[in-house]
Amino acid sequence: MATSIFTPNYPLKPSSSICVNTSPNPSKFATYIIKPRPRTTRINVLAAIASLSDPFVLQIAETLEDSLSSASPPLPLQKLREASSQSLLSTPWPSRKDEPFRFTDTSFIKLSHIQPIQFPPQSTNFLGVSTDTHLPNLVIVDGFLIDSLSQFPQLPNGAFVGTLSNLNSEAIMNRVSEFMSNFEGDLFWSLNGVGTPDLVLVYVPEGCRVESPLHLRYCSVSGGDSESKNLPISNPRVLVVVEKGGEIDIVEEYVGVEGEKCYWANSVTEVVIGEGGKVSHSYLQSQSMNAAHIKWTSVRQESASTYELVEVSTGGKLSRHNLHVQQVGPDTVTELSTFHLSSSDQTQDLHSKLVLDHPRGVSRQLHKCIVAHSLGQAVFDGNVKVNRYAQQTDAGQLTRSLLLEPRATVNVKPNLQIIANDVKCSHGAAISDLEENQLFYFQARGVDLATARRALIFSFGSEVIERLPHSFLRKKVENHIKQLLDPAVKGFK
């Protein structure tokens, strides 16, 4: 069965005139700015470019660029910065008129005073960073990898975990270079590329299986008070390269260290999986409820490789996950399980895109979300693209949403685009409150309504949480979710 769903396009309307003050410290961003001129036919082309150059974006890019240390970066990083700044020139700040941000309001970031975090925070501020972990872990504070807090794993020969500036192997450096700037993300992807202080590299050589999971702990320490409008931005960037037959288990955890501060974590993770390789990826996001959290996960899967993602996102005032999985060889297996909880005045957004270009790919996607607050919102745009040569693809997608409060909002847009003619694809979307008959079943056995609701709400998310590969993660997530949901359950009484 082959069906196609075409996503409507909302083209940008070029604004009629743009006026930009020249920056006091001219950088390459300033030189491209075009001032309005009298209207002629030629100018229309320029006006179109000018309209795409967003002064606000250029201003952020400029301050990010200024914040970077002057030491010359490793070549791949340099390449990344150049490509990113190039693309920022023609990328405006997204508005609700742009399809990918139709339901996601980013004005909260735009209206804040965005400040780059120039230096890693002083060690006195690390007190809040907990060190209780059983695993080798890398601690990334405000986008900077902090060696003194990290516990580097024992690695087999040829493997590498650390910042790009500390990498000595030329071969690996060249390999990394190959993967820089060959994916086009959006504005936030490019802002990260311009602003990231260094790149954290996880390199797994051919045939190497890394036994214990690698825990990446992203901590946000700098942050403004909710009234101050100050929004420090951090740009952590991680590249995971797993060569042919390699395997690794990555845990990414995002936390705000102290109180409910305002900050913006603008994170990018790239994963490259070689032939027959396997990456198990757990991603937990429990940022401050006043934070903006924008995250890119871009995955390239070569033939017969496996990528398994389990995500649980609960924090952030605005949390957006852009997940892009690109198949570059046949017989891949992709499993995406995500759970979003919007338990306060917050937006949880997942935009996933799975592009299948080769035969016999298998993918399973399950997205679940709960909105437990009347001002809460959840957004899901799940795109699966089965291109012409992706015959015998088996792609399944299911999204279920639970709305627990009046006026709670969910916007779901599952969409399949299928060109190949011999494929098996399914998708489903369900939005509901708790099932009355299930609640009655509990009550008929003597369990009161509040307890029954709590059990059913937890069970809804547990389908995803159970897929987390480590019990300590499951326990942590369960406890956290219980805390977050308690008011929602109590409020019901």
Partner: protein, 323 residues
């Protein structure tokens, strides 16, 4: 049904009670609000229930002597219960009368759509139905004033005809919650998962289930037989003074039926009572009923011994009222 109505209402020769029914001073013919305990139905009775109700006035309850010789307490008394579907207001129950004493097994049979399952659901307070008249008294308490949770904690258990699947909640967690709710009501300390496991694992043999059954999600992916066993298992774990078993035998093979029946018999004590709803006589071969009621169009139209069920099995419901 039409046949029955015409018979019972139009043959003056058959009942001395008709004048009473037609009495202008009692315009609501069959509500009989002042009736005290209905006649023990363990006495065979082929008369229509409206007659039963009237007879009850004349014959005060006998002291039970069929089980243990002690006087039995009235457990459940349903009088003129009428109910409609909440949404459509369509009447389903049109005046049900029934009395169950301790230690008795009652069976309700009837055609599809006669109101048997509705009767069971109304007794446990299912929100799909609205009670419009009559009374239900359980151990002297007005059941209709109680929430479904209170009814359950008071000791009324209904096994669902189609047990509900609850993905994400394991059987053992579900039962632990329900069991602790009971203990809390009794003022006893709640049991943790380990203690509870100790208690519950001994009950598995009752329904012939394996231990992994406890870790499966409630009814999720269960076969028809497993769902029914699970209902009985819940009954065994939670206990109940009145177990209402709604078509516990449908969809079961012979072995499963025997297991379920064995479990039910094992749970029967002189204090516990069972109200079974079934279509088939074969269940009664395993569980001996005290009496059998035939339900039709929202009323109990005939009450008697097991022989009624045999006759129904043989002749069908059509033949019923002519006798």
């Amino acid at each position: 049904m039409a046949l029955f109505n015409s018979c019972s209402c139009s043959s003056p020769s058959r009942s001395p009670l008709l004048p009473f029914k037609q009495s202008p001073s009692n315009p609501i013919l069959f509500t009989a609000p002042a009736l005290r305990p209905l006649r023990r139905c363990s006495v065979p009775n082929r008369l229509p229930p409206r007659l039963t109700a009237s007879l009850a006035v004349e014959s005060p309850p006998e002291s039970g002597n069929d089980r243990g010789g002690k006087s039995k307490e009235l457990l459940l008394e349903v009088k003129d219960l009428s109910a409609v579907i909440s949404e459509s207001k369509q009447p389903i129950l049109k005046g049900v009368n029934l009395a169950i004493y301790e230690g008795e097994v009652h069976v309700v049979m009837g055609k599809n759509g006669s109101g048997k399952s509705t009767f069971a659901k109304v007794l446990v307070g299912h929100p799909d139905y609205e009670v419009t008249g009559g009374s239900v008294v359980f151990r002297g308490e007005n059941v209709l004033d109680m929430a479904p949770v209170e009814r359950s904690l008071a000791g009324i258990f209904m096994s669902f005809q189609s047990p509900i699947e609850i993905p994400g909640v394991s059987n053992i967690d579900f039962l632990n919650m329900a069991y602790n709710a009971r203990r809390k009501k009794l003022g006893q300390p709640e049991l943790g998962p380990l203690e509870f496991y100790g208690y519950i694992s001994t009950k598995l043999d009752l329904v012939n289930m394996k231990v992994d059954f406890l870790n499966r999600n409630v009814n999720e992916g269960f076969s028809g037989g497993e769902k029914k066993r699970n209902e009985i298992f819940q009954l065994a774990v939670l206990g109940a003074e009145l177990a209402i078993l709604d078509e516990i035998d449908s969809g079961l093979d012979v072995d499963a039926l025997r297991d379920v029946a064995k479990a039910v018999n094992g749970l029967l004590t002189p204090q516990n009572s069972v109200l079974m709803i079934t279509h088939y006589h074969r269940l009664l071969e395993f569980i001996k009923p005290t009496c059998v009621h035939i339900m039709e169009d929202g009323r109990i139209v005939e009450t008697g011994k097991e022989s009624i069920a045999k006759r129904i099995e043989k002749e069908g419901y059509k033949a019923m009222p002519a006798t």
